[in-house]
């Protein structure tokens, strides 16, 4: 029963966080890209965008609440947490649909009203005195590294007290799979932690090479905003994986029979708290970034008639980037944080194939 409540709490928290992240997403994306549509500077404050944003947010709140309630009722009636897991998928589809239709509406308004008429469209890029790689700080590795060191230390200290066979899998609170105790087998939690750290570091190293996209009318300020947001994202993920590592340590302690097996089920909780911390760090960061790098769009008639190139045509369904002319393999997401691949680049297909193959192999095993 405890397992059911822990999973219900975890799934519901994840659903709430997905809802909240999407609720604040219009504030996180670059100002000249609203719902995946390139907007000229004098239209950023347009009433139709404000209306669409309001409607999108209402949809997100309603969809999240409805799916959470429906999943909870189903889970209680069936006595299993399975509906909660599927409901996360349902929420993701619903949120994406809401984005997709909002984008379509905005795009048709933009085309119908001729928003880009009379505008010179340019592609700006920083060419000096900006080092966007330096925003990834090496000290971000310290918190997860310390959590890993603590886990390794616990494995060594508790080694003599551990049973001769170590639990590696539970079914509920019942241990179902064992391995013989050795220094290599008690370090299994550390291997997981190292894998997570390596995968995160790899993702960060790619992300720091992904371009930023300065926006008219204030190219420098908008570039700095994007870089600061990236810094916040790095920091929040470092916090998240540190919490996750503590969850793994907790699970390891249960596997080593140093704490009751029930903690194995509770070990998801630090990860959930980590997710909450991550979203908190990002949303607080956005407030600070807005204060530090605010720029006024000014009165529409005073703005020079220059806008970022209308690149909507390269974004299929609002989230798939396909541009054969673009040598970049990774580009910033159109709606959301992080990056996505350019499917117009042959190398992207190679990487995609490798990832799909790796996932398929992992599932087969």
């Amino acid at each position: 029963m405890l397992g059911f409540f822990v999973f219900a709490f975890s799934d519901l928290t994840v659903m709430a966080l997905i809802g909240y992240t999407n609720y604040i997403m219009p504030s996180l994306t670059p100002r000249s890209v609203q719902f995946g549509v390139r907007i000229p500077p004098d239209r950023i404050r347009d009433s139709s965008i404000a209306r669409l944003t309001r409607n999108f947010r209402i949809e997100i709140v309603m969809v999240t609440a409805l799916i959470m309630i429906a999943a909870l009722i189903l889970a209680f009636n069936l006595g299993t947490d399975a509906p909660l897991g599927y409901s996360i998928l349902a929420e993701l589809i619903a949120v994406w649909s809401s984005y997709y239709f909002t984008r379509r509406k905005l795009r048709s308004i933009k085309i119908k009203m001729g928003w880009t008429r009379g505008y010179v469209q340019k592609i700006p890029a920083p060419a000096s005195r900006i080092n966007y790689k330096s925003h990834l700080k090496i000290y971000l590795i310290i918190p997860p590294a310390m959590a890993i060191a603590l886990t390794a230390l616990a494995a060594i200290v508790f080694y003599p007290l551990m049973p001769s066979q170590i639990v590696v899998a539970f079914s509920g609170t019942k241990p179902v799979k064992f391995v013989i105790k050795s220094l290599a087998t008690v370090m299994i939690p550390v291997y997981y932690q190292l894998f997570i750290l390596a995968a995160t570091a790899f993702t960060f190293l790619i992300y720091r090479r992904v371009r930023i996209e300065p926006e008219y009318p204030d190219l420098v300020s908008s570039a700095m905003r994007q870089l600061e947001l990236r810094s916040r994202l790095y920091f929040s993920i470092s916090v998240f994986i540190t919490f996750m590592d503590f969850g793994i340590l907790m699970s390891g302690m249960a596997d080593w029979e140093m704490i009751p097996g029930i903690f194995s089920e509770l070990s998801i909780l630090p990860t959930i708290f980590g997710l909450i911390a991550m979203v908190y760090v990002i949303s607080e960061g956005v407030k600070k970034i807005k204060q530090n790098y605010s720029y006024e769009t000014g009165a529409a008639e005073n703005l020079p008639k220059i806008m970022n190139r209308d690149d909507d045509r390269f974004w299929k369904m609002g989230f798939i980037y396909y541009n054969r002319e673009d040598p970049a393999m990774m580009v910033p997401k159109r709606f959301g944080l992080g990056y996505t691949i350019n499917l117009g680049n042959i190398l992207s297909w190679v990487i995609l194939t490798v990832i799909v193959a790796a996932i398929a192999i992992a599932f087969m095993e």
């Binding site: 469209q121 340019k122 592609i123 920083p126 005195r129």
Partner: protein, 127 residues
């Protein structure tokens, strides 16, 4: 302050020429100063979403013209303007100008109009 290169891919002017002009304009306005290191051509190309040979071409022309140079670490650096090149440059510039004025006069445009256009261009560049 960060210097931004701006290109417009709908123009007939080739992209490499636009990058060249953008950098020259940066040097003239003081946004780019002597010793400033420019982005490596590969990175600038990725940021602009264009082929890196295009950026290389612009950099190479600017190096030949003396606005940029490459150091031992292969970094592309702003060299500013070398006064020793001035006489040679002015001679080239006069030839170009002579050709343009010749062509305009052949089309019957009066010299006063040509002078007005030159003044207007100087003012717009300054602003």
């Amino acid at each position: 302050m960060t210097f931004m290169v701006e290109i417009d891919d709908s123009l007939e002017t080739p992209i490499y020429a636009q990058i060249r002009l953008s950098i020259i304009s940066g040097i003239r306005s003081g946004e780019l100063r002597r010793g400033d290191i420019l982005m490596p051509s590969r990175e600038l190309a990725k940021s602009l979403g264009i082929n890196y040979h295009t950026v290389n071409k612009a950099y190479d022309i600017l190096i030949r013209e003396g606005f940029l140079f490459r150091d031992k670490k292969k970094r592309t650096i702003v060299s500013g303007w070398n006064p020793r090149e001035e006489k040679k440059y002015l001679r080239q510039w006069e030839d170009l100008e002579r050709n343009l004025i010749d062509e305009a006069m052949a089309r019957g445009i009066p010299s006063s109009t040509i002078m007005d256009i030159v003044r207007h261009v100087i003012d717009s560049v300054k602003n």
